[in-house]
Symmetry: C2
Subunit: 332 residues, 2 copies
Amino acid sequence: MAELQVVVLAGGVGAARFLGGLVETKGNDSDITVISNTADDIRLFGLQVCPDLDSVMYGLGGVESSDRGWGRENETFNTLEELRAYKAEPEWFQLGDRDIATHLIRTQMLDAGYSLSQVTQALCKRWEIPATLIPMTNERVETHVVVDDPETDHVKAIHFQEWWVRYRASLPAREFLTIGADVAKPAPGVLGAIGSADVIILPPSNPVVSINPILNVPGIRQALRLANAPIVGVSPIIGGEVVRGMADKCLAAINVAATASGIAAYYGPRSGDGLLDAWIVDELDETSVKEISQLGIKTVATKTLMSEPGVSKKLAETVLELANQVTKAKDA
Amino acid sequence: MAELQVVVLAGGVGAARFLGGLVETKGNDSDITVISNTADDIRLFGLQVCPDLDSVMYGLGGVESSDRGWGRENETFNTLEELRAYKAEPEWFQLGDRDIATHLIRTQMLDAGYSLSQVTQALCKRWEIPATLIPMTNERVETHVVVDDPETDHVKAIHFQEWWVRYRASLPAREFLTIGADVAKPAPGVLGAIGSADVIILPPSNPVVSINPILNVPGIRQALRLANAPIVGVSPIIGGEVVRGMADKCLAAINVAATASGIAAYYGPRSGDGLLDAWIVDELDETSVKEISQLGIKTVATKTLMSEPGVSKKLAETVLELANQVTKAKDA
């Protein structure tokens, strides 16, 4: 039997947890390609930091910090302590000592002329991750957030990381700009993976700052729309609340309700001009199933809180089963 | 009373220890300028590492590892462990996590266009060191060692650090090349400090790879020869042996005897075409005093093993006293 070709569009920790379940479910019977958001990448202290790529790499490598939700387990922060003692800017970002090795190698390779795709492949080699991890693009694309500067009250755009980490998303966002996306190209392998996929998954990542930047790279949204594979999404909302606490701030900025149905409508039905063939909502949001189904999106409710044991595997099974149903219905 | 203007040409740990004693002796009654060798600098893992500048900075900052002889005390090596797990080259160099913060800031500032002088000043600010630390030059100058490649037997030049750290100086050195020195300029402040000095000191650093590269920067040797101040050197030999074990390999390569008199003759008497007005040998090498004095270099023997408590302070006092005698004799 041919391997199932699975494509996952990924943000950070939510995607990493979902991928853990997907790998557990499929064993060696699938060929998983992860297309990672890179718009939250940032160069700090001279290091090129790629939070979402690393969340997936460390997550699938089994060395992520599950407490922190980013970076490595068994981590120390001695370099950071020294950077702060030197008063190096910015003072609001954290980097662990083990994690810094990844950024050093990445930065050195990028500066030597390797593409981010090549660097990612080189880094992943060590972790022997059971998936192909590729960046959405090799060009520099960064999410900036338009806010009222708390010091001057003037409108200005700040890097997403500054908004997210320094201000804990507390400054009202007027707008999210995916800087550089208009002239970016999908990284090698991105369009091919989408085109030959059997299933395409939008895991429970932040729709505005994790998934949307991927869709903003010219060619990717169109490739998804044209793909043969069904597109199945998982709602990042549980019982009307965002799981990790700040995605609602992003949704508010673009006037999208932070609800299972609000986000489903934001992605839109594939039968219209959107992306979703199917959508999974949390069991606590079961009341929204009917409303979402009426948009033309096949919707089911199940347990989605992946910090509970066994849930991510079960969730991945549900996604694949739902994809299978969509494919069969289309073929019928 | 005007402050005594002291200039010290510095290598790494030997110079740092001597400087500790000098500071202890002089308190606030002197203005110390340290001109540091930078020819053992190397870019590794994308980081600009300046071993001699850092040895002096950490030494005078009171945070050097006295056990190791390089890097920071209370150090961890987690980034390094990860770099090795990624099989990052080179595998023979060590960097501590705290130390990496220094290299990150330096590299970022250099890449942003600041000079090494400016970077060094910025880094030293934190440590409030009781001296002005300046690099010998802001240009890239590197000591390379000509050896027979142990794998191919062909002659090749390798970076000093590779020869020193990877091969523990065990490959016979055919020659030392100070690459880039011919077109380098002394860093701002170097010639001025030498010109206005009251005392100039060559501490017990490696003459071949620490002091000689400084002398090879065009203009520096001449400035020393023309300076009003007496030049006093301290022998790095104790009882006919090099203190830290490998400087003899460097001396052998240039056919200089690894003895107190051999090195004195290598620097040469100022009354000839050399540099030394005075020279301090270890008490164990007292028998060489007469021979060296006959070269026209005022020579005394005293305790020089600075790992013993109180010795570096006493040694600094002896150096300053000897300088004073030379000055008085000249004025008489």
